[in-house]
């Protein structure tokens, strides 16, 4: 390896545009859904359908992605809206962390990518570990004050009286458009900043840097988690990249696949739409420790066949 950093503006522009083109449709789905939730979902309906038991709510949040699949770019804006509608914080965190992984599209892509490398084992471990870690983090959040976690504008849920149910249909649709466009502008600013930082690493840093780590299990797991954070790939395609790191153990690849969709450079910026900086820092540490411990201590083995 004769260099560790080699920047090219044209490579950066190409990589950056490809991430933007890939992520924008999913952000649009998120903001349109968010606009509909804003106008047509009264807070009292949400309060009625959610389990009163907080643990049941967290478990439900962790599994919600299976029926309401969202990628990590689009989900933040949806949970921001749901939090305003009164969704308990712990349920929102469980949904936010689990949904980009526990959904049919990601399960299928993980299976396809790991054919010949223990496809079933990797898919089931990925889903199971993502669910477990989401539930653990959400359970910790249960004990935190809403004010210490959320940005000030999200700390007080809407009052039921604020719901604009009395409006004419045209005015309701106008409100959907205003809300969706407002969210699109908000989340896209953060998305672009994150995409730029991730692309800088993705195109400029020599990826051979992490290869020596593959010889040590603990370091290889940490190294693959760091790589997932730097590359900031979409959860629907990251398995295809992880599967190419044949020098690394299954546990290290699993760490890449669980940590990346929950926390990467792009998400650090996007999470800023909802959470306080201190909580984001806590989330980084918590997720890193939990994923690392799980992948180094659990009997994962090396998947084959």
């Amino acid at each position: 390896m004769d260099h560790w950093f080699w920047f090219s503006a044209s490579d950066f522009a190409y990589g950056f545009l490809s991430v933007v083109l890939e992520g924008t449709p999913f952000i649009l789905v998120g903001v349109l859904l968010s606009g509909l939730v804003d106008v047509f979902l009264p807070p009292r309906v949400l309060a009625r359908v959610l389990p009163r038991n907080p643990v049941a709510g967290i478990l439900l949040g962790g599994l919600l992605g299976a029926v309401l699949p969202m990628c990590e770019c689009g989900i933040v804006v949806v949970i921001r809206r749901l939090l305003r509608k009164g969704l308990p914080l712990s349920n929102a965190v469980a949904y936010m962390l689990a949904a980009p992984i526990i959904n049919p599209v990601v399960a299928a892509s993980t299976y396809a990518a790991f054919r010949g490398q223990g496809a079933w084992e990797m898919t089931l471990w990925r889903m199971g570990l993502a669910f477990g870690i989401s539930v653990v983090v959400a359970s910790i959040v249960l004990f935190l004050r809403r004010g210490s976690v959320l940005r000030p504008d999200l700390q007080v849920p809407e009052e039921i009286a604020d719901t604009p149910e009395h409006r004419a249909p045209a005015e309701k649709w106008a409100a959907v458009v205003r809300s969706s466009v407002g969210d699109f502008l908000d989340v896209t600013v953060y998305f672009l900043l994150g995409a730029a930082v991730a692309t800088l690493f993705n195109t400029s840093v020599n990826q051979q840097l992490i290869l020596p780590l593959s010889e040590n299990n603990a370091l290889s797991v940490a190294g693959m988690m760091g790589l997932a954070a730097l590359l900031s790939l979409c959860s629907t395609s990251d398995a295809f990249v992880a599967a190419t790191f044949t020098a690394f153990s299954s546990a290290a690849k699993l760490a890449f696949l669980v940590f990346g969709p929950m926390m990467d450079l792009k998400l650090v910026f996007i999470y800023g739409l909802v959470f306080r900086k201190r909580f984001i820092a806590l989330l980084v540490v918590l997720l890193f420790v939990l994923v690392w411990l799980s992948c180094t201590q659990l009997p994962i083995g090396n998947f084959r066949g």
């Binding site: 004769d2 260099h3 080699w6 920047f7 090219s8 503006a9 044209s10 522009a13 190409y14 990589g15 950056f16 545009l17 490809s18 991430v19 933007v20 083109l21 890939e22 924008t24 449709p25 649009l28 349109l32 790991f114 054919r115 010949g116 504008d153 005015e171 649709w173 106008a174 409100a175 458009v177 205003r178 809300s179 969706s180 466009v181 407002g182 969210d183 502008l185 908000d186 600013v189 672009l192 900043l193 730029a196 991730a198 993705n202 195109t203 400029s204 840093v205 020599n206 990826q207 051979q208 590359l231 790939l233 629907t236 395609s237 990251d238 295809f240 599967a243 190419t244 044949t246 084959r304």
Partner: protein
């Protein structure tokens, strides 16, 4: 310019940009085909949202009190821009427009070297050659699990004849086909010492003074962010005069070097020709 107008400009610009990528076909260099319809749909939705936004904010009173979008005080659609909102619009408009004009639609040498050239098909578990001779083949995931070529009727019956031949009789291959053949003994036997023609980008040798260079083609799973360079070594009496990362066609003998641990394909060049970039420069 107030926030309402800048928002309209942003939606139009983003919608036009995404639509243009799709209409012009430029999208093929950036994303896997499965994402192309999504980009087209996003472009149309953004272009539709622009007039809808103008309509939805037509009344002077339409702002925080009724829109539900929870602006900070003073951030209503018709208000003057705060410094934060102005920064937001700069981020929304400037980088994407600049990248649109600067991006060459392919990676250069820096990104190729940072990603390291893939020289074994086992590093691409999802790879299936485009030329379809191996359409029936189980996908390789591990060097220990190389499937038997006898499972693939076309390959067995037609062998290398399944591939297209150029006017000079050379078999037309992609770099990925040779990597595949390197892992498959029966196919390797059929390709070895055959005259083949492979198109790719020229990566010059790095500093050792040899005339052995790399011929690479990008392989994309989802978008350019995950694209990996698939390369084969080419030995030649002299280096091509092509530009670095320029497109060349190398015609020569396919060889396979076995060092006891792995088999590496390489080409012994007979002729090297500069060619225009293929319409689909990326392999999927």
């Amino acid at each position: 310019m107030n926030k309402r107008t800048l928002t309209l400009v942003t939606l139009l610009l983003w919608g036009a940009l995404m639509s243009w990528f799709w209409v012009s076909g430029r999208i093929v260099a950036y994303l896997h085909p499965q994402f192309h319809p999504l980009v087209a749909a996003a472009g149309i939705v953004l272009l539709l949202l622009a007039p809808l936004w103008w309509w939805a904010t037509r009344e002077s009173g339409a702002g925080c009190s009724s829109c539900g979008c929870h602006h900070e005080h003073g951030e209503e659609p018709r208000s003057r821009l705060s410094a934060g909102a102005a920064f937001g619009f700069v981020v929304l408009l400037l980088p994407v427009s600049t990248a649109f004009f600067v991006s060459p639609g392919q990676f250069g040498e820096a990104a190729i070297m940072n990603r390291t050239i893939v020289t074994s098909i086992t590093q691409l578990p999802s790879a299936v050659p485009e030329t379809a001779v191996l359409d029936e083949a189980p996908v390789l995931g591990d060097a220990d699990e190389v499937p038997d070529v006898a499972q693939w009727p076309e390959a067995q019956e037609e062998g290398v004849e399944y591939f297209t031949r150029g006017p000079d009789g050379a078999i037309q291959l992609e770099t990925i086909d040779l990597l595949f053949a390197a892992e498959e003994p029966a196919l390797r036997e059929q390709f070895a010492d055959q005259r083949v023609s492979v198109t790719g980008q020229y990566v010059p040798p790095r500093g050792d003074g040899s005339a052995r260079f790399d011929l690479v083609r990008m392989f994309m799973v989802c978008c350019a962010a995950d694209a990996r360079p698939i390369g084969i070594a080419v030995s030649s009496p002299s280096l091509p005069v092509a530009a670095r990362m320029g497109w060349i066609r190398v015609t020569g003998k396919a060889r396979f070097a076995n060092d006891g641990e792995s088999v590496q394909p390489f080409l012994e060049a007979e002729s090297i020709q500069e060619v225009p970039a293929p319409r689909e420069a990326v392999l999927y």
